[in-house]
Amino acid sequence: MIAIFQRFVCRLRAVFNKPALDADFSEELAQHLEAAIADNIRAGMTPDEARRKAHIGLGGVEQIRELHREARGLPSLENLARDIRFSMRMLCKSPGVTVVAVATLALGIGMNTAMFSMLNGLLLRPLSFSQVGELFRLDRNTPDESRGNHAADNFFDIRAASVDVAEIAGLMSWGMSLDPVDGAPEIVPVARVTANFFDVLRVAPLYGRTFRAEEEVLRQNDVIAISHEYWLKRFGGRKDAVGSMVRLDKRSVEIVAVMPPLADVNRIATGQNFPEPFAIYTPVGFFEYERNMRDGGSVQIFGRLLPGVGLGQAQARFNTIAADLARRFPDGNRDAVEAVRTLQSTVLRGSDRTITFLLIGLSGFVLLIACANLANLLLARSMARAREFSICAALGASRAQLIRPIVAECLLLTGTGMAASLFVVFGTSRWLAHRFGNPSVAVDFSPDARVLAFACATALVTALLFALAPAWWVSRRSPTDALKSDSRSMTGDRSQRGIREWLIVGQFALALLLLAGAGVFIRGIERLRHHDLGWQPEPLVTATLNMQDERVGWGPARAQFHAGLREKLLAIAGVDNAAVSNHSPTLYSNTKHEFRLWNGDPRDTGGDSFMAYQSVVSPSYFDTVGIRLLRGRNFNEHDHTRSRWVALIGETMAGQMFPGQDPIGQRIGYFAGAGNWVWLEIVGLVADTRPIEARPSDIRYEVYQPYAQRTWEVMTLLVRAKTPELAPALVEPIRRTVTDFNPNLAMYRVLPMATLIEEQTQVWETINQLLLLFAGLGLSLAGLGVYAVVARTIAQRTGEFGIRMALGAQARDILGLVFGANLRTALLGAGVGVIGALVLARYLASALPVFAEGNGPVLVAAVGVLLLVALVACLLPARRATRIDPVEALRTE
């Protein structure tokens, strides 16, 4: 090995010491000849004869030199250097083309790599927990809902039954009101975790201690750990934060730990209602109402495999546990499956993954179109040099020697393009991270080694792709071809035209795919935002209120409080209506609940069970939000704890749960803990509402209850402005009114609904913009490609057109000639592209159902746009063809 290296160093040194070594060898050869001549003369030859014999004995001096050089240096490296120098000269000779080529490549590779850096940042970059490979997430799959969370009691059973395969921890995303450390009470995002949560993740606190097992229990859980960000923001990074007391949801709790930055906890946890990272961790302390039920819980389970245990082994255990739970508690667990996923694989969720791959794929298509353009360019250039190639071949150049300069040129172009593409990647990573991340899940798209490797690989594949066509063309030619034919009048023989046409077909197909892809996506998102939501977001202003104030009281007192607040709000100029609900209608949060159909007996719970979203609302909610009451009556002030318990349901639920019956007067019930069932009488039917989510939950049923009958801690305040334009101006008056009404109320995020929706749909907007950018680039590149090919063809056929015109052809005939050929190509490309677009639309629809319908017009429009571009790209050069002066054209011939 060392010997090989030594020899390589020797040879490398020889490469850089060429002139000296050459001179040295010349002298040695001269010596050789001299000695041989002297010998020959001594043997009795004449001087001429002696010289001749000496030369014959030595052999051809130049060949010997070459042999010597080859043995001495690194011939392949020297050849490569020569080829690169040569192609550098070639590229510098036509700087315009070179700049366009490099810029195209830089954009193509850059965009592709930028998209990959997203995938890298979202999925490939490992979570920062130690031995992350051992970590997993446990999902609960039921026919109602896939990848759901767990009920508290199930969690305890699962944890107890799996101690010998894994450590199991739980987390619930929560919101709590934290009393002033310095000022107004605020609602903060809280992670309610089991005591071992940090141990399972192997995260140690920065200061203080983690939670103790006994603190997991309700009323013994008056301790919190604060996040690094919250510590810096509220405690100014002071160490004495540990040990101090704060009030959390009106309880006095002790800060026992300050955590290090834990961005990845926010990446793995789901269901955060707040667009901010967890500020506080507290032992879970399950409430009474969270116990004794086996369905509809919201405990997220994370686990770490014990050493030597595989994921499959753990899954087998969880299957056993699920079967056991189904046997012991068939209510709620009957069809439940417990499924393990590696934690890393959960980071990029289903539809995000589809979108990310879509973006990488489509940006790759842009690059492919650019490749086709460059292939065409190089092919044309090679054809122009056909004579030169033939002469070289005739003089004995091997195929490899002919192709090498082309490959060198490609490598040089892509190398430069790739270097320039890094500017694109670095320039966009921050913007992309800003647009795709949000404060609760910060994303990091900054390029790392993997991204650079991807850029290099892309560049290499690109170079190979567009070097292939010209290299193949050159290698197939026999030396006599070009020498026989006159290259000036050539448009290329049939096979060359074939490649070029197929390149154009490919470009058109890809461009159509990009156009249609962007179209389908944009239409889908538009549908998502503008389809009938069943409610009107525009005039609304929302705020989140935490009602846990003992001065407000419970039940009827709450209702009175809200009624009073509503009076004050209605007094603000421009306010039309106001209401409260337990969640904002923009997104369904953790308010799904299991219900039962009435079976004739309040104790008999054997009726059909179903999952529904549960909304707890004030009577004015439906008018405020704009939900239509279809039948029956609205809630009113007569619905209170002492009256009959009532509910309104959505129309889909009415149609499916009570087919052919009148839903009004029917009863549904839910389990209220401690063996009690609450039965609600359905008094009305309202229109379905839809959240603004691309992937709506499987659950389509809605149940509304009056807030006077069901108390909820954290409420969403909804205020309807008289006109949508007034909404932003109402934010401040609303804030002031609420604070004046009760200064102890923690209020959070007072925002116009439009802003909230914008926050939620920002990612979609960004994807729209990116797809439009891809489609625009792809289309213009394809157009440019067609233009270049048509222009070149016409330039080469000038003589032919001249003859045709001299013989009486009209401008129309010439145009027909040019269009006929290219229209066919464009149509063929569009046809292939339509098939591709259909496949793409199906792929999108499989991830997000909103993309499934109404794609026909989009496809038609895309084909139209493409043909228009083709037409323009043909028309510009074709017009020049019609202006050919026959006399001039024939004279140059």
């Binding site: 002298e27 010596q31 001299e34 041989a36 042999l67």
Partner: protein, 117 residues
């Protein structure tokens, strides 16, 4: 000419050069070429010039050393000399060659139908 055969010849030529330098001491290129011709091995060289590629290869492997010196007739000439490393290689290669040629001889020389022992 098939490539394998050339390689065999090349290697053999290197071996001859080493053997020549080992027996004759320091020599210049022309001398080595003449010597190889004299012992009748010129069939291995296409012409005298090919010796120089072999000399470069041997130098790279540090099996021989080269130095400019003065020839018998007082002219400057490049002299090649075998190194200790070269001698070791020569012994090893010679043994190897003898073993191989022994086997080849036995196989080719064996009467038809009889297996070599």
């Amino acid at each position: 000419m098939p490539k394998e055969k050339l390689d065999l010849l090349q290697g053999t030529l290197d071996l001859f050069v080493l053997q020549t330098l080992a027996t004759m001491g320091a020599m210049h290129g022309y001398g080595i070429a003449r010597r190889i011709e004299q012992v009748g091995a010129d069939a291995l060289m296409l012409n005298q010039g090919t010796i120089y590629a072999a000399l470069v290869r041997l130098q790279q492997g540090k099996w021989i050393d080269a130095e400019w010196g003065t020839s018998d007739n007082n002219r400057k000439a490049k002299y090649y000399e075998i190194t200790a490393r070269g001698r070791k290689r020569l012994i090893a290669e010679t043994e190897n060659w003898q073993r191989v040629s022994g086997v080849v001889h036995r196989i080719l020389g064996a009467p038809a139908g009889e297996l070599p022992s």
